[in-house]
Symmetry: C2
């Protein structure tokens, strides 16, 4: 039987998961590929990993260069994370004619175009299913299953940490801070949760799927990003009263002349299946002109779900090797010459529905003043909710709008914020 | 640019959809494949199809043999349906070294092993994503994305007609007959709905995914099948009272030594996302040992969703042709030599929870007699619900059990049915 040699760079959580999976499910993988996927070398700067992962003798090295330059290694798996070192090693592997698997969404979002260009020049495959949505085969579905469709939109919940925190606030009425602490204690949030809760991680993933879906270059910089740090239990409670659950959504839409691509907390109606995707689960809906809406859901992160996606990519490359082919599918889902420069619409050009919460002094005429200002900007209201009168201090005034232009909303909120009766930033 | 010639057999609903998609989205497909997918010939016995579908001159033929024997045609798309003719034409195409795409689940369920054998012998690809779950990429997910996983179970809602009917009964309290008539009027049930409502269509699909998931031959004959024709609004109403929705489920589980594979109405708890998959939507959950549970949902049938899946397969084959390769992925997801004969457990060996509805005369001691018989067979009760006393006639007595063996349930029901106080078959 043919042996295909795999080299892994980085033995953190996911890298260790890939090692575990390749070793434990080896016979299963042989039955699917018809070849043996042999873990030839695994590199990490931490030499304790060799023992921790019970690596077979001779596999561990503490120099990634020994892996990407090993002429016997057929497939390189980059699991280091970060941008500079990981990117350089991927480029070196490509230069050495070795196909690469990575789950590095930050790298792809920020430097993916250069990596794709290098891969295409060398006709070497670069696979990254595990970079978006962990277990869910989002990239394969867009690149392979929906090829007959003009893709209209890709939207979903792409960060398990944020979804866990929002679910906790929703279920238990805890504060953002307490829910985050709980997420950290349970291991589903990093010690430094910045990338997650400020929406950056979600935006990295959105940049990747947006490029694949519409045939454009990866454009992370123009994505609007708003995280979940300002969400209060009160917001979630009011949303529920109106029949909505708040989720951190990644939203992208193909408007033809331009793309909408944004990450922000979003109110999802109870009857929408996404509102029931809770805890660390992720979910994505992809809408094609022919196929309608498809939903994929599953664990979006974690050691083994992510490792499973990485191994799926390794097997795809191994099947290419067995079939004596390469570069069978264009990396960005469209032929290189067909990738267009479609602009992402600035956020103030977006038209959508809005939820406002004002902390207003409970005085006569407040509602009329606020709704008057909104009306002046052409923003009409769908629902209004005002809590009962308090003897002193502010009361929450909640409004849901019909479709309105973000630029108008920004102007109106600025004017309303300046009112003497408004006690906090809306 | 290279041209890849496609020949279609059968211009019914899905065949016409494939023609439409290939013609309308041609430039989109070119941008993804880097080749032109040219509809060279399309065959149907109904000569009016040429005009109806505005086929380009010279494409229509009324003899399928002219398509499968055309030496210039690279890919054959079988959209005839039925077993004998479709099967013979597929075998002829394979013999002529032409890869084939089909959506014919009945053919695959009953004669798939022979077709797979012929394809493997000739090293010709046979693709059938559209045979299961329409728009949802179930087969690609099992064959390609989850290759690193031991698949534990595949379960779901695989028939849109049944799901539409059950949703109607649930939402409007209409009878099965009225809901069926409504489904037929709205075009989402065939004039002859037998294959759908008796569970056969679901079982065809389950036979296919079960084989792929666990590395076994296609075994349709041993699947237990129960349709939805006996479901009453009363059942759905009681299920709702207990917190469940009734769905026609295809269930398969890998027990290691044997497989469970069954199709029957199933009570799904409200908190399970599948209970919210309504109308003509389908959904499937796939559980892998590493990946956990993945959910796919989308339109399971219909002209364009199914055509989209067919075109996905055509493009996969076209990419093989462009990459100068074939038979890259084993047809049944595992290498031919690794396909095992794993038995499907007879239904009376299944252990699960049960829902009973008895029409019992409202006499003292009835509950005690019935629960006594169940107890004698080791069947313990989780919930019991008895409607208020009627002056005459029977009252519904509803019971939910803990896990019990089907064989014991059958024996107990036989004994209970014989009681004088029981008015209908339970």
């Amino acid at each position: 039987m043919k042996t295909i040699n795999v080299g892994i760079l980085g033995l953190g959580t996911v890298g260790a998961g890939v090692v575990k999976l390749l070793l434990e499910n080896q016979s299963l993988i042989i039955s699917r590929v018809g070849a043996c996927l042999n873990l030839k070398k695994a590199a990490d700067i931490d030499v304790r990993k060799e023992k921790e992962l019970s690596l077979p003798k001779g596999v561990f090295v503490n120099n990634a260069g020994l892996v990407v330059n090993d002429p016997e290694i057929d497939i390189i798996v980059e699991m280091i994370g970060g941008e500079k070192l990981a990117g350089d090693l991927i480029l070196k592997a490509i230069e050495n004619n070795k196909p690469v698997v990575t789950a590095n969404k930050a790298l792809l979002a920020r430097h993916g175009n250069a990596l794709v260009k290098a891969s295409e020049k060398q006709k070497v495959d670069l696979m990254f299913e595990a970079s978006v949505g962990g277990a869910m085969p989002i990239i394969k579905t867009i690149r392979e299953s929906l090829v007959g469709n003009q893709i209209k939109s890709v939207s979903g919940i792409l960060n398990g940490t944020c979804n866990y925190i929002l679910s906790k606030i929703s279920d238990n009425g805890t504060s953002f801070e307490d829910a985050l602490a709980e997420a950290q204690a349970s291991g589903c949030a990093e010690a430094d949760p910045g990338l997650d809760v400020n929406g950056l991680d979600t935006a990295h993933k959105l940049a990747i799927v947006t490029a694949l879906a519409y045939g454009m270059k990866i454009n992370f910089d123009d994505i609007y990003i708003e995280g979940i740090t300002n969400i209060t239990p009160l917001d979630i409670q009011f949303a529920a009263q109106f029949g909505y659950r708040i989720k951190l959504m990644a939203i992208s839409k193909n408007l033809g002349h331009a793309i909408e691509a944004r990450v922000h907390p979003t109110m999802i109606p109870f009857e929408n299946i996404l509102s029931n995707v809770n805890g660390t689960l992720n979910a994505v809906t992809i809408t094609g002109d022919e196929v309608g809406e498809i939903l994929l859901s599953g664990l979006g992160a974690g050691m083994m779900p992510t490792a499973s996606a990485v191994v799926g990519d390794i097997v795809d490359l191994a099947r290419n090797i067995m079939a004596n082919t390469r570069a069978r599918i264009p990396l960005l889902a469209h032929q290189p010459g067909q990738i267009r420069a479609i602009p992402i619409l600035p956020i103030d050009k977006i038209i959508t529905h809005y939820y406002f919460r004002f902390a207003a002094l409970d005085r006569p005429g407040v509602l009329s003043t606020i709704s008057g200002i909104l009306g002046n900007y052409g923003i009409s209201l769908k629902s209004v909710h005002q809590k009962g009168r308090k003897s002193s201090g502010s009361v929450p005034l909640i409004m849901l709008t019909h479709r309105a232009l973000e630029a108008d909303v920004i102007s109106a909120l600025k004017e309303i914020s300046a009112l003497e009766v408004i006690q906090e930033t809306p």
